[in-house]
């Protein structure tokens, strides 16, 4: 599903450059649920952004579902993001003037689906996250947990091969966090490949595999027994 070989990434900071990722090797198979752990500055978000084709790598190889991601035009990158990837962000990143249904339907719009089809599909996914009754509500009328579930529905709507979550529980209380994680586990059970960036130990334990980053290199990569939420 996902192959990364000897990945390097540095950012220019004025005259000096900051070497963030120093040779990352990571293979993720279909159906895995991986937690990427690390303290702030460890490069975990940068790694996720590169995997999500939101950022470009400096050197190394990145293959997503058999396609090498390299020197893409903006248009091609947008196409791949739309087709392969679903994003869940810490700050939800819903468009605040669109209601829940419209937010979920947005990636489908960029897939070129017809309006009716978009709404049907969006409604299906909104129903899946249990928010069918809230479809006409604007984001600021929803609780944090509800917002994140709308965001998950939006990420799922385009039926991506890989779900990327950047601190999905970072802005939520622990009860709501568990609710969201439980839902992500269910999705994983249905076969969805999921990558979660987190710095919370208990969240990482709910995944099937933990990759620990420190100072731009992978310190540890181990499969664990998943802490199931019921």
């Amino acid at each position: 599903m996902l192959k990364i070989n000897n990945l390097h990434k540095s950012y220019k900071m004025g005259d000096s450059s900051l070497h963030v990722l120093k040779g990352i090797n990571l293979h993720v198979d279909k159906g895995e649920m991986v937690a990427i752990m690390g303290s702030s500055g460890s490069g975990k978000s940068t790694l996720l952004n590169i995997i999500g084709i939101l950022d470009e790598l400096d050197s190394g190889e990145y293959t997503l579902d058999g396609i090498e991601i390299k020197d893409l035009t903006e248009k091609k990158a947008a196409q791949y993001r739309n087709k392969f990837l679903g994003f869940v962000f810490q700050s939800f990143n819903l468009i605040n003037f669109k209601n829940a249904l419209e937010n979920v339907a947005l990636p489908l719009y960029y897939q070129g689906l017809k309006r009716k089809e978009r709404q049907e599909k969006a409604m299906f996914h909104l129903n899946k996250v249990g928010l069918a009754d809230w479809s006409t509500h604007l984001p600021n009328e929803l609780s944090g947990g509800q917002k994140q579930r709308v965001a998950i529905a939006r990420a799922l709507a385009a039926e991506p091969k890989l779900l990327l979550a950047d601190e999905p529980t970072g802005a939520l209380d622990s009860a709501t966090s568990h609710e969201i994680m439980q839902f992500l586990q269910q999705l994983n059970d249905e076969g969805k490949t999921i990558l979660i960036v987190t710095h919370e130990e208990d969240i990482s334990l709910m995944c099937k595999r933990i990759v620990r980053l420190k100072d731009g290199v992978i310190m540890e990569d181990k499969k664990i027994k998943q802490n199931r939420l019921t």
């Binding site: 903006e74 248009k75 993001r81 994003f87 962000f89 819903l94 960029y110 897939q111």
Partner: protein, 410 residues
């Protein structure tokens, strides 16, 4: 195939961000409104100026006689110069190439009575050409014709206000009007349509010049000679032509060339030249005003588009993360810009027009202020294009921001 989805996106964004839409719309509407008002006032000013000189044909020359002020060739000063039929004939023949219409005028004040109605009027005894020089429009019957002159008929043509004064609802054609105890047959009624002409013009009675000469003095005197020059003459040529005629008359009557009071001509070509110059200055002024307003509008819309794109950076980032191609980002922002400018421009036009219409500005030398629709449409299109360009540059930049940077924007 029209992408309705795109339009829906644009309308939703405009509709859900009312304050933003309103503010940017206001800038454009205000610019177009100012443009309309300023242009309209300038046009109104121009109209007033033109009207001041309307009423007669714009290529007319009126020639009057007076007393000599300079002694010449043994003649003393104070000699009265009297135009006559011979002069009329000489001018008509000698300058036939350059003269379009020519008429003599004999003035006479009369008391006219019809039945029990009675009033005082000015009579102008004229040649048939007079109709075209004064731009009298016949509403009933005909004007004085060559046959009237030949036979010294007692036919007259009266202004519509004379009809109002004396006849009321009675059709005056064929009726006899009593002028100083002599009966004249009414053969025509005219109106003065030209704006700016006073009501006195519509209270004139015209009669054949030959008739007046015979009845009122039994001579061949003419008080004034009016003519129009050929429209093909340039203003400079027309002024030269006017001078030539005056010189000719001075020759005939032995008047010194530098005598200003014996023969006087009022040449519209001179006035036209002044009007042309004045209009030229006004046009430049209007152009500067218009351009200034438009530039202000363009700067305004540019500012707003930059602000809008800045404000929407995060939204753009989200859209890009969800797979929006760069072109769709550019298109959505530009379309918004076009919609705002087009609609706000139209509103500005309406408001500007309403403002112009709601004030009575005749007292301030402004007549019929208004702007041609094509001009305002052109101005609005300019703003739309400017809005598009102004939207395009930041939109292009926004579309090329890495989504990761855009998403980080708070």
């Amino acid at each position: 195939m029209i992408d309705f989805g795109l339009f829906r996106e644009v309308f939703q964004s405009l509709n859900k961000n009312k304050l933003r839409t309103l503010l940017s719309g206001f800038t454009v509407a205000f610019a177009i409104m100012l443009f309309t008002i300023l242009f309209g006032i300038a046009n109104g000013f121009q109209n007033t100026f033109n009207n001041e000189f309307a009423g007669d044909a714009s290529n007319s020359i009126f020639i009057n006689s007076g007393r000599t002020s300079k002694a010449v060739e043994g003649y003393q000063t104070g000699r009265r110069i009297q135009f006559d039929n011979a002069l009329y004939k000489t001018l008509k023949e000698e300058f036939s190439d350059d003269i379009e219409f020519i008429t003599g005028r004999v003035y006479k004040n009369v008391t006219a009575s019809f039945g029990s109605e009675k009033s005082n009027y000015s009579v102008r005894a004229v040649n048939p050409d007079h109709q075209f020089i004064e731009k009298s429009e016949m509403v009933k019957g005909r004007f004085i014709n060559p046959l009237d002159l030949k036979n010294n008929t007692k036919n007259i043509v009266i202004g519509n206000l004379v009809v109002e004064d004396l006849f009321g609802d009675i059709n005056p054609i064929g009726k006899y009007l009593d002028l100083n105890k002599i009966k004249f047959k009414i053969v025509g009624v005219f109106v003065e349509r030209t704006e700016g002409s006073d009501s006195n013009e519509a209270r004139i009675i015209y009669m054949p010049i030959s008739t007046a000469q015979k009845i009122y003095g039994n001579n061949d005197y003419i008080d004034q000679i009016n003519l129009t020059y050929n429209q093909t003459l340039s203003e400079d040529q027309a002024i030269a032509f006017g001078n030539k005629i005056v010189d000719k008359i001075k020759d005939i009557f032995f008047v010194a060339k530098n005598d200003q009071s014996a023969v006087r001509a009022r040449n519209r070509a001179r006035e036209n030249q002044e009007i042309t110059q004045f209009n030229g200055v006004l046009a430049i002024l209007v152009l500067i005003i218009g351009m200034g307003t438009l530039v202000a509008g363009v700067v305004g819309i540019s500012n707003i588009m930059i602000f809008i794109v800045k404000e929407r950076t995060k939204e753009i980032g989200i859209r890009k993360a969800l797979g929006a191609p760069p072109n769709s980002i550019i298109l959505i922002i530009i379309l918004e810009s076009i919609f705002i400018t087009a609609i706000a421009g139209y509103v500005g036009l309406l408001v500007g027009g309403a403002v112009l219409n709601s004030f009575d500005l005749e007292d301030y030398w402004i007549t019929d202020p208004g702007v041609s629709t094509s001009l305002v449409v052109a101005a609005t299109i300019t703003l739309v294009i400017a809005g598009t360009l102004a939207g395009y540059i930041p939109a292009k930049r926004a579309a090329s921001i890495k989504p990761i940077v855009a998403l980080r924007d708070e």
